[in-house]
C-alpha cells in the first residue's frame, strides 16, 4: 500500500506504508519503478492529506 504526500499544495512524493519509506517520482529510483508496477496492476494509493 502507498499513500501520496502533498507539500505546498502539490503531490511531491509517495510513501510506502509497509516501512514508511518516502519515494521520489524519479524514473531511475527502483522503489518508484516498483510503485509504477503496483499502479499498473490496478492498485490505487491513498490520497494525500490536505493540510500538509
Amino acid at each position: 500500500m502507498y499513500k501520496l504526500f502533498k507539500f505546498n499544495d502539490k503531490v511531491v512524493s509517495v510513501t510506502r506504508l509497509a516501512d514508511s519509506t518516502s519515494i521520489p517520482f524519479d524514473p531511475a529510483n527502483t522503489d518508484y519503478q516498483a510503485y509504477l508496477r503496483w499502479l499498473e496492476a490496478g492498485n490505487t494509493p491513498e490520497p494525500a492529506e490536505e493540510n500538509q
Binding site: 511531491v12 512524493s13 514508511s20 519509506t21 518516502s22 521520489p24 524519479d26 531511475a28 529510483n29
Partner: protein, 347 residues
Amino acid sequence: MTLAVNIAQSGSNNVTFRNRIINGAMVIDQRNAGASFTPTSGNYGLDRYRYFVSQASKITAQQSSTVPTGFSTSLLQTVATAVTPGASDYFIFQQNIEGYNIADMQFGTASAQTFTVSFWVRSSVTGTYSIYLANASVNRTYLANYTISTANTFEYKTITIAGDQSGTWGNTNSGGIMIGWDLGSGSTYNGTANTWQAGQYYRTSSSVNWISTASATFYITGVQLEAGTTASPFEYRQYGDELMLCQRYFQIVRNGIALGNTAAITVTSSMLTPTMRASPSLSQQGVIQLTNGTTDFVQSSTSTTLASGSDNCIVYTLGNFSGLTANAAYGYRIGANTNGVTASAEF
C-alpha cells in the same frame, strides 16, 4: 613486479579501478555497523550486498573478522533454521554493478569483453556451489560452479567468463551486471553451467543446498570482477574511497538545516555527498535529535517525508517533535546518537 605482470596478463588497462565490485573486502557496513542482522527479501546487509530469500528468518548475516591472510573483514552467513528448498524457494545474495561501471565491457555487442571473477570463500559445508551473473532484467544469465573442497578453510576461487554478446545491458545509471551467490534454491532456478542463457537461474542441479544444514556457515571476502582472462591481485582501496563508492547508493544523513514549520514538524534541507545514483528514497534509522543551540528536541517516533529531491540534495519533513517554533532554525544534534535519515538509491 608481480602485480604489474598479473595486471598485464589480465588484459585490463586499469591499474586502479580494475575491480568493478564495490566493498569487495566487506569493510563497509553502514546499516548494521558490524551487528548481526536477519535479511528479509530485498534487504541490503553489508553495503552493496542484497539478499533475496523466499522464506524469512532462515539466515543470519554479519560482518566478520574471520578472514584469509591479507583481509580484515568478511561477510558471514549462518543458517538459523535449516530448510529443504521446495521447487520455487531461493536463498541468494548479490551485488548489482551500475551500468556506468561496466560500460567499457560492451556486453550485448559483438565486442563484449571477457571478464574474471575472483573471491575468497569458506564454508562448513563442502561441495559444488554456483555463482550467477545476469543483466538487470534478469533475462540473460550465466551460471558457473566452484567447489569448496575443505570445510572451514578459506579457498581462493577464480572464474573467467566470456562476455555476453546478446541481450540488453545497462551502461548508464541503471543496473549493469549483477553477480550473485546461491546458498540453496529449488529446481525452478536450476540452469546450465558455463553458457549465457535466456531466463533467471541461480544454480545448477549439482549444487549443494547449503541452507539445508543446520548452523552451517558461509564466509566470503576479496570479491573482484575485472576485465580480462586472469585474476589480478585484489585491488585494495582506501577506506574513505570505498565508503564514498558505497554512499553513491546508500547514505545516512546527519546534517542539514531544519526550519520549524509547526510545533511538531520541521522542513529540513540536506546535501547528499557524494552525488547519488538517482534521487533517493528516504527513511529513518532511529529518532532524530535537533537543537537550536540551547534546547534539544527529540522525535517521539520516526517520521520523515520527502518534499523534493535530486541526486545531490533533499528537502524533507521531520515530524513527531513537540515545542518547535515556526520559522526558527534547528540543526542536527551531532553526538547525541548515530541516528539519521537514510537515503537509498540502490537498485
